[in-house]
């Protein structure tokens, strides 16, 4: 009987494609929006992810994220180095500045000062040049997303001079970095150079990056630093999570994306529910005839369930493919750099589809179950 159910469904091409469209559109909307949402809020942790070596980030007790920080006195570095179990600790500066390009454009940038001696604080990969260029005076390394923001497509940023807070800066390398939440241009330079570029108050040290000796876990190290220095110390994972939480708590993004996801769900229920009800209504006489002939209610339920599952699975797959195509198609764009589809997102949209199919299938089935076999004689 399931074969008959499938033929009934596919035989009505308009409604069949309407159902597929409804499910696919709904899946696409939910999956795509959730994917963008997850990737966007994860950028709140990009500052942490871009620095691959530190186990623990140490900061003033009021600092919250890589971008929301309060500088510490430079003596804090020695305090941290004096904590037992600290293998190494280096200074890390993050501050905002303005650059004027040779074309005269003004752009807000983030300046990151990495340790002069070890260059700890730089991203792991370079797309152009090498980290060694930082040994040359007035050198900055730009992040690859920043290249897209500051320069025309195809224009090389290498050896381009910038006016960075009224001082000369020359781009001599491009780092492969995860963009920040605001996709602001990021310039990496040595810590000592960064102090020159970014005027500030007496205290200039944004963070101290530290790593533990063998046998000391990041959490143990963070606990010891907090206990012995009174500073705030977060493990890499904790600080990444802090960045994500900050965006969730302080922006309207979760609400906006949430609304779109809910709308996707409602549109799915509406389109699929309406089309499926019309389909069932058009076939109600055939279902009535089947009941009169002697097809049990259980088999009728199975037929409707087969029809619902078929449109659900195909529509879901199409919607998912659409999302993959969307992410893949935009992978060249700096905004979508590094975007991926977390496994939880297709699972959530699958659950949403199952709910849509269950609701609409149940509503449609009610009509069939209410039909008395005797109705075919009327």
């Amino acid at each position: 009987m399931n074969w008959i159910a499938i033929r009934m469904l596919t035989g009505d091409a308009q409604k069949f494609y309407g159902l597929l469209f409804g499910i696919a559109f709904s899946t696409l909307l939910i999956t795509q929006q959730l994917t963008v949402f997850v990737n966007l809020i994860e950028r709140g942790a990009s500052g942490v992810y871009n620095e691959p070596t530190a186990d623990v980030w140490v900061m003033d007790e009021v600092s919250r994220t890589t971008d929301v920080n309060f500088p510490m006195p430079s003596t804090a570095l020695e305090d941290v180095r004096g904590v037992s179990g600290v293998e190494w600790a280096v200074p890390h500066l993050r501050a905002n500045a303005s650059v004027r390009t040779s074309e005269g454009d003004l752009e807000g940038v983030t300046v990151i000062g990495v340790d002069d001696a070890t260059l700890i604080g730089l991203p792991a990969q370079m797309t152009e040049g090498s980290a060694d260029v930082l040994s040359r005076p007035d050198t900055v390394i730009i992040d690859d997303v920043g290249v897209g923001n500051l320069f025309e497509e195809g224009q090389s940023p290498i050896d381009v001079r910038l006016e960075l807070n009224d001082q000369r800066a020359v781009i001599r390398g491009v780092a492969d970095a995860i963009p920040s939440f605001t996709s602001q241009v990021t310039l990496y330079t040595k810590y000592s150079q960064a102090l020159q570029y970014v005027p500030g108050t007496r205290n200039r040290l944004s963070f101290i990056l530290a790593s533990g000796a063998d046998g000391v876990t990041p959490q143990q190290l963070a606990d010891r630093i907090e206990a012995e220095t009174g500073l705030r110390a977060r493990t890499r994972e904790q600080f990444a999570r802090d960045g994500v939480d900050f965006i969730i708590e302080n922006t309207g993004i979760p609400i906006n994306f949430g609304i779109t996801v809910v709308l996707g769900f409602i549109v799915g229920v509406a389109i699929v529910g309406l089309t499926f009800s019309l389909f069932i209504r058009d076939n109600i006489k055939q279902f009535g005839a089947l009941k009169a002939i002697g097809v049990r209610n259980g088999k009728i339920r199975g037929m409707v369930a087969t029809q619902a599952c078929m449109v659900g699975l195909i529509g879901y797959a199409l919607g998912l493919l659409g999302t993959v195509g969307f992410i893949w198609g935009n992978s060249g764009s700096s905004f979508f750099k590094g975007f991926y589809i977390p496994w939880q997102v297709p699972l959530i949209s699958l659950v949403a589809m199952v709910i849509i199919i269950t609701i609409t299938g149940w509503l449609a089935l009610r009509g069939v179950m209410k039909t008395e076999p005797a109705a075919v004689f009327r």
Binding site: I4, M8, T10, G11, K285, I293, G294, A374, F377
Partner: protein, 245 residues
């Protein structure tokens, strides 16, 4: 309306259907309307029985009760010795599937499957493999002279051909009782006559009982027995219709 008195349409000997004291009420808002009034009726095997009467006389209600798709308010129905309304729901559905063939006025064929597959529906519902069921249904279509239309969809067939597919569907699982609702209503006189000749030839074979609800006086001459229903009561039982019909 005639002044005819209600009669008992029972027969002696073994009956295919034996209905006793059948009444049926319908609720319309606050009112209860009784559409059948204590009908006694036997239908014998091997007979082509017509149930005739004006619209609203209760024909459709009576035939629905006799074939197990509408519960009577009062009374009992035995079909081939089985008290069908004493069966559990699933058993009654299964009883219909095994023993009764249906021909509907509007055919109610499934538009998306071809003629042979439509005719095979009862066999598929019984659990037969789809290919075997379709092959058997194609043989039935052959017997009804539309074997060459087996691969066509219902909308590619004429009204008469669709009705033959419906007849094939009613007979393919070899039921002992065939119930037809206005089988010629949607057909022209020639096609209707042809379908009825065919139905009489094929359906009545092997001692099957055939009950036909009809208004169509063009086919009254083919009946073995004609029952007239008026206001929910049988008022005539004979081989022809009374003059006032």
């Amino acid at each position: 309306m005639s002044d005819a008195q209600p009669i008992s349409a029972t027969r002696s000997g073994s009956a295919a259907i034996s209905a006793r004291n059948i009444s049926r009420d319908f609720q319309t808002g606050q009112d209860t309307i009784r559409v059948l009034h204590g009908i006694d009726l036997d239908v014998c095997p091997g007979e082509l029985t017509y149930l005739v009467g004006e619209s609203g006389s209760g024909k459709t209600t009576l035939i629905s009760i006799m074939c197990g798709i509408l519960w009577p308010t009062e009374g009992s129905v035995e079909v081939f010795g089985t008290d069908i309304y004493g069966l559990k729901d699933d058993d009654l559905v299964n009883f219909r599937l095994q023993n009764i063939g249906f021909i509907f006025q509007q055919y109610n064929l499934i538009p998306a499957i071809d003629a042979a597959s439509n005719a095979a529906v009862p066999l598929i519902a019984q659990g037969m493999d789809r290919r075997k069921a379709r092959a058997k249904a194609a043989e039935m279509l052959d017997a009804l002279n539309i074997g060459d239309q087996a691969d066509k969809l219902p909308n590619q067939l004429s009204g008469g051909q669709q009705q033959r597919v419906a007849i094939a569907r009613a007979l393919v699982h070899e039921p002992r009782l065939v119930v037809c609702d206005e089988p010629t209503a949607a057909l022209d006189a020639k096609s209707g006559r042809r379908v009825m000749d065919l139905l009489r030839d094929v359906a009545l074979a092997e001692g099957r009982s055939v009950i036909i609800v009809t208004h169509d006086n063009r086919i009254f001459d083919l009946a073995d027995r004609i029952l007239v229903l008026e206001d929910g009561r049988i008022t005539h039982d004979g081989t022809d219709v009374p003059d006032d019909h």
